[in-house]
Subunit: 338 residues, 2 copies
């Protein structure tokens, strides 16, 4: 597999990206194609004794930042490491693309450079969230499309179903749920009512009904469908709550000498709880609905997360997901196409 | 103060409701008017040695359950403990009403029996959520209105601002935020864009801008405005995450003998973390926009939560919130009135 990686995307670029790429080459044997300023990549690699064996570089001198307007990737920043990577992907110079840069820019670039699958009205950001069972749940949309129509959510469900069944579930049919304010069939607003009908009346997936936000972490479903606004609120509330709670618990252990001793005892075990809630392990969020595999790594990704994102990208490319989405979605999506 | 309390609302009625009412009478000196089956109330009180001193009972033989359609409170269940309590409130037989029963029924009953303040297009469920700072944040709407227009969110902001400034903040102007997928002014969809403009262009409150779900528990704002769908997702994700995390941490302490010893040491401290996340302390969610104070207590309320809800109801009635909402909101709300 040849995985193209944006060497200048994210808070810890380029060092952690290069480190993660080197780890992926060593561990998985993939070829990594880095995009970005070649001389800086070579200098950082040399300074940090990172081997660039098994890597290629596509040199370009620009970077798109979090502050740049997403659409600037098409013009002002068309020579950025992200734009160049997406172009290389669209030209077949690699099997998948990974970036930890701006989600908005990646979505615009993915949509207009890599392009959507025919019949798909919107690409979805599909976040893999940890659950209590150890298996992840795929939330889509996680924030790329804040205003959604029922047909879009239906397509998100179809795409997430294919991904979770084929890439993660090893062929075991995924359970698909709709994020709602209650579990009864009639809950929610217009968007949920119409989407519920679409999902209930298809035999193309295993739709298990409405799911409340409270239940998501218990792992009752494998695919959770939501508009990007509610999906983003869900994702970020979970992150924020876990963050505040772990901080509070850390505070408890610093109370006095006895609690500090207790801390030493439970620390290795608490690490596992923290890891369960970490986005690092799952490595990245696939953008589903594009003609080629694109993975958004978390903006604060360090080498471990980058390595995992490269693994996820290769699995995505390998599973034939895009061909399957093309096959099953195109037939009922033409009316929403742009 | 005379507080009317639905003795048959919630999972633990009537025993925990009666207990909580007795505790409120003893601690705050309020008169409590219980609604529900009088003979059962007297029997349960006698069996559990609870004094009914300082309490009155309005006898009625029906109860509206979680399974009943919310609108049935107006017809089939118009003699339920909830409907009778709301009617008593509207007739001035008490200063406020508390129920731990069905949120939907309470909203319908509140809207059509107690009625909305002139100029208010929708009553909002205003949940008080704990934060890291120890001060609560008021989230409205927390799930009563899943489909919202910008003008509704603007009214929610005005009402929440009055409540948090006068009842909780002791006159210190509340900081009002809009729940959004990012902090930049242009984030969100149509609803957020239009609401942002309305809130930014008024000098009638201290609007501090967009707030991400991740930041809510840090207590950066006192009032958080959202449509009821996103608000409910926020509230329930926080509850669910805290629940799963505390369960995981409990599991850590059961790992082996040493961690069990550690558990004994930190247990009292962890209790404080748990209490911070508990809805019990804040006691209930005001329904804002009605002509009289109505408080929704959590469905699983025990005596302590009921007692707190009665305290909150009295504070609500005492602060003149409704008169202030009438004064400031009516002028710009007539066009949305039904």
């Amino acid at each position: 597999m040849r995985i193209i990686v944006d060497a200048f995307g994210g808070d810890n670029a380029p060092l952690e990206i290069i480190k993660g790429a080197a780890a992926a080459v060593a561990e998985y044997g993939h070829t990594v194609v880095l995009t970005g300023k070649e001389d800086e990549i070579r200098r950082v690699a040399a300074d940090n004794h990172i081997s660039l064996d098994g890597m290629e570089i596509i040199d370009c001198d620009d970077v798109i930042s979090m502050e740049d307007a997403p659409r600037s990737i098409l013009r002002e920043h068309k020579n950025s490491s992200m734009a160049v990577g997406l172009k290389a992907l669209s030209e077949g110079k690699g099997d998948a693309f990974v970036s930890a840069g701006s989600t908005g820019a990646l979505l615009v670039g993915g949509t207009f450079i890599v392009k959507r699958i025919k019949g798909i009205s919107r690409a979805a950001l599909a976040a893999l969230m940890p659950t209590d069972t150890g298996n992840p749940v795929m939330l889509l949309d996680a924030g790329a499309n804040v205003d959604c129509r029922p047909k879009m959510l239906y397509q998100f469900a179809r795409m997430g179903n294919i991904y979770m069944t084929d890439v993660i579930g090893g062929g075991k049919p995924a359970r698909v749920g709709l994020l709602n304010v209650g579990t009864e069939d009639t809950k929610g607003g217009e968007l949920q009512h119409e989407t519920f009908e679409l999902l209930k009346n298809t035999d193309r997936m295993n739709f298990v009904g409405n799911i409340e936000a409270r239940q998501v972490l218990y792992g009752d479903v494998d695919v959770l469908v939501a508009d990007g606004f509610a999906g983003n609120v869900l994702l970020k509330s979970i992150e924020g709550t876990a963050e505040v709670l772990m901080k509070k618990i850390k505070g408890v252990f610093l109370s006095n000498l006895l609690t500090k001793i207790a801390a030493v005892i439970v620390k290795p075990h608490l690490g596992k709880v923290k890891a369960m809630l970490s986005s690092e392990e799952h490595g990245g969020a696939p953008l589903l609905g594009l003609k080629k595999p694109v993975i958004k790594a978390h903006g604060n990704s360090k080498a471990g997360a980058v390595k995992n994102a490269i693994r996820v990208a290769a699995e995505f490319a390998n599973a034939g997901v895009i061909e399957k989405i093309e096959a099953v979605v195109s037939e009922d999506a033409t009316e929403d196409d742009e």
